[in-house]
Amino acid sequence: MPEFQYAFHFDSSACSGCKTCQLACKDKNNLPMGSFWRRVYEVSGGGWRKDGEAWIPDIAAYNLSISCQHCREAPCIKGCPSGALAKRADGIVTLDKAKCLGCRYCEWTCPYGAPQFDPETGIVTKCDFCLDLIEIGERPACVTSCPMRALDFGELEELKIRLGGVGRVFPLPPESQTKPALLIKPHPSSARAEALAAATANREEVSR
């Protein structure tokens, strides 16, 4: 019997890149300037390809809405020297603000850039899956706000059965690295993204 694990499901083929999820998260959690617990990466690449006498567009362009993946093998928990990060019985990775010393090591260990340092408070902050909302039977703010219904959440195994999806899409790190609690319905062009040398187009926006 697998352990209970909350997870996000993201439909990349449906995402329009409007970033409402990003803003809803920021608004709900009252995040300071520059801090985003959820970021939308605009991945694009490719160009014109000659096909006989014709030039045709050969591109990959899609969005990825990425937050903390509440990984099953979370490197942030393993690395945290003070034990401030922990995994709950429902799989959600939480941060105890009273224990964090602001060493920022979790920022280094996380391949998704999820933990983010807040210079105002001197500690790290991260997505808590909108625990307060889940506990009263509501959905995380990012899921509720998405106008394209591209985001969903639930128990990982149940989500796999209900919606399917894969654990990794270019340019996310290999799934085996942290076993993220994330399922993605890939955009059709993502299969050729690596071959087309796609890159994050909104680099400045997602940089920290």
Binding site: L101, C103, Y105, C110, S207
Partner: protein, 266 residues
């Protein structure tokens, strides 16, 4: 160049200097070299160790919570590093007090300091060998940390007690070849724009060249000290100074790397 991590640059370099010096002095004491034991070498080990620990606090958002950093010894390399750092500092402090208090414990304290210092450098390198940071996740990280320790520690020991010209020269030459050929050239060798949006700093090759020129200057100063014994003292200190600047540039480049999905802006 990204100076944001200056506390870590100074912490790692000063601690590695102290640990390298402790290992060198211990080896020399075992070989019966005059001046390798006693209060002066102990102070030379203790001061950078204490200074490094103090500077590391500037990296923390909540420095008063620093004692909490050893609470995850079972899983965190960072906790283990701090434990060995504290062991090293305690041994170095005891070495300083050994003579005044008549403890006669130098024979035990020297290996404890040297071995805990080297163990701490190993733990330190484990902290950085992270799958999430491909530029750090290789043998180059521990190799460059130990290289810095033996270069700076060896040069410091050589300047303090003298008479180590040939062995330190060999050490410097080996480290130069390592830095030139195998290169912990963080930000240089094979680094390209990544799909995550990271773009290499165009100034890095020039900065790396300056680092190598300074390292070569350190070797030249040390070699000249070997040939001209009458000018040896200032030439040795000049060699140490050039090596310190070179290693500092290298460490700044080490920390100037992209992290995870969201590369830091410089």
């Amino acid at each position: 160049m990204n100076f944001r991590e200056w506390p870590l640059v100074l912490f790692t370099l000063l601690f590695q200097t102290a640990a390298g010096a402790a290992a060198t002095f211990w080896a020399l004491a075992v070989l019966g070299r005059p001046g390798a034991s006693g209060r002066l070498p102990a102070i030379v080990i203790f001061l950078p160790a204490v200074l490094s620990a103090a500077l590391s606090l500037f990296h923390l958002g909540r420095p008063f919570r620093a004692p909490r950093s050893i609470l995850n010894l079972g899983r965190s390399w960072l906790s283990r590093e701090i434990l060995f750092l504290l062991t090293f500092k305690a041994a170095a402090a005891a070495m300083v007090l050994d003579e005044p208090l008549g403890l006669q414990a130098g024979g035990i304290l020297r290996p404890v300091a040297a071995l805990s210092g080297l163990a701490c450098i190993f733990m330190m390198s484990k902290i950085y060998t992270l799958p999430a940071v491909p530029d750090w996740n290789s043998w180059r990280t521990p190799a460059s940390f130990f290289s810095s320790a033996f270069v700076l520690g060896g040069l410091t020991a050589g300047c303090v007690i003298g008479g180590l010209k040939a062995p330190v020269l060999i050490l410097l030459a080996a480290a130069f070849i390592f830095n030139l050929v195998f290169a912990p050239r963080f930000g240089l060798a094979g680094r390209k724009a990544t799909p995550l949006g990271f773009r290499p700093n165009p100034a890095w090759p020039a900065i790396f060249a300056v680092r190598l020129i300074l390292f070569a200057a350190a070797i030249l100063f040390w070699l000249t000290a070997l040939i001209l014994p009458e000018a040896a003292s200032w030439l040795e200190w000049a060699a140490l100074s050039a090596a310190v600047i070179s290693e500092t540039i290298g460490r700044l480049q080490f920390y100037d790397i992209p992290l995870g999905l969201s590369p830091r802006t410089a």
